[in-house]
Symmetry: C2
Subunit: 357 residues, 2 copies
Amino acid sequence: MYETHPIFHGNQGWSELNSLISIYTGAGIFILVDENTSKYCLPLLKANCPLTNEATIIQTESGESNKTLNELGKVWQQLSDGKATRNSLLICLGGGVISDLGGFAAAAFKRGIDFINIPTSLLSMVDASLGGKTGINLGSLKNQIGVFVKPKGVFIFPEFLHTLPKREKFSGFAEMLKHAMIDSEAHFESLFFITEPEKFCVEDAIMKSAAVKMRIVGQDPSEGGIRKVLNFGHTIGHAIETFSQKNDAEPLLHGEAIAIGLICESYISMVLCGLSQQAVKELADLVRLLFPHYRFSGSKVKELLMYMGHDKKNIRADELNFSLLNKIGDPVWDKIPGERLIRESLHFYLNLPKGTY
Amino acid sequence: MYETHPIFHGNQGWSELNSLISIYTGAGIFILVDENTSKYCLPLLKANCPLTNEATIIQTESGESNKTLNELGKVWQQLSDGKATRNSLLICLGGGVISDLGGFAAAAFKRGIDFINIPTSLLSMVDASLGGKTGINLGSLKNQIGVFVKPKGVFIFPEFLHTLPKREKFSGFAEMLKHAMIDSEAHFESLFFITEPEKFCVEDAIMKSAAVKMRIVGQDPSEGGIRKVLNFGHTIGHAIETFSQKNDAEPLLHGEAIAIGLICESYISMVLCGLSQQAVKELADLVRLLFPHYRFSGSKVKELLMYMGHDKKNIRADELNFSLLNKIGDPVWDKIPGERLIRESLHFYLNLPKGTY
């Protein structure tokens, strides 16, 4: 078993954070924020962690569209201008964009400085900040550039979620759904009843979801095998996210696209691996209840398939590789459904009745 | 002892290269070249290695000034456009710029694809292509961004040197000098007599020099300690190289700057660590015989010190950290000579009589 990075939370989390940061005070502490976490999260961090008052702030712009080489270059330049050394610390305070961008920035600055993640979005607390994947997008292709690198620690404080917009909370809930479906029938069913943000934005639910990811990452940190199951919903979900960013004035959030991907890939799982029709229905009902019903023309399926062709899991670009479910709690990977079934799954989603039932 | 990457050379090298490349034929082979290696080296590679005829060529521009984030982005884009997958291979065919840029490009493309180095400059054969350091410059600051990553193999074929300009050969010789001084009195003295390119651009001399680097890298791959001795001559040498790039129409080559750094840091070694005056004189005589005598005004020393402040070895930016020699064959690291002695060493170099003796 691979040694994963530590995760801290609750009151003990704050004291661990203070003691970890104190190691770096002589060598320079940097905090990467965006305009939102600068305003809503930095004050809370400073209040609970006085050593961060002297840190150098590096501010980037929020949003997936800023996870670019250009923004990465600016972070590196600011680390350099701030005279960061090999012994400095970068604190990534924000959602997945911040930990993806900041983790990669730290991993390659002077060939590697230490960093920690303090996720401030639900999506990041249960997923993006965990497990050592970092990276940026290449044009419209997500996470094409990056490295596997372990943060010194991830610190989960649900109090940061108080100022998070409701839509962002549901975006994170999509990844909780994914973890539950990979994990067990009981975990999946438990989410049927906590569909209000006040119920799932709490430490117990978050840590339970995070534990699913950490258990799998611990078995396969560099995604040679079983870690691929965490991509369930993401082959199609990422393509829909890319598509939406290209075509919509107000694009889908990551989790909103993943929720659609979960439905499509559950449908594929049903046809190819025997996932029960009931499970597909339960998921689809839940997603329709909680997420907007996204529309795209059936003629756009070709464009979606093209985006899937760039998925990192593909061994050959012409063979689309999926992670699927035999049943809830029994994931499999390296499955090749073929183009026809992928198309069918997208039409299954498009033909779902709109709205709540 | 850390397992370093393999090095192949000679006729067996060609057959090993063919057999290694054959593993990747289904998944895409890419060759990174510059305009020179495309013209002078690619034909020789293709003739000896027919499988490379189908490879996708990625061409960048030669020269340290192109080891930039911008060029890196272009390499990533071309890998993506060429549908490189996680199982593809990148062959870095060129000097240090190609292996630094290409190695980093490979290490972070889809979070890491395999790469090999085929160095085509002497400097790269004895130094840059070996040991797993990769990276790019940040503005005028050298190698500020990069990672440690092992190539699948380094292939040394001195026949690539036939088309290399003489000045480039001497640039590589400076690193051979450094390795010899770190290694032993006998190795250092052996170089006094093979100062013509035909004598040192041969397999025996190259492999002897490369072995010094690999022995040290094997003890400390990520430069926590003893690997720093390989930076002998480079704290001042890098600053002079940066200075020259900023100020000269035709800047010094890397090795030409390092040769000056070796003299200055030998002088510091003499004052601080007891390196013999004789060794300093032998080195200075040899460098004056083989390298141009570079001039800069004493008033520029402050600018040089500023560049040294960004050296990656520094634990604190205000304490300049050097690797030095107690005697030939006995290197030390983490030495702090202080600003006065650094200035003195630069003036020692400037005051050396010009030309051969």
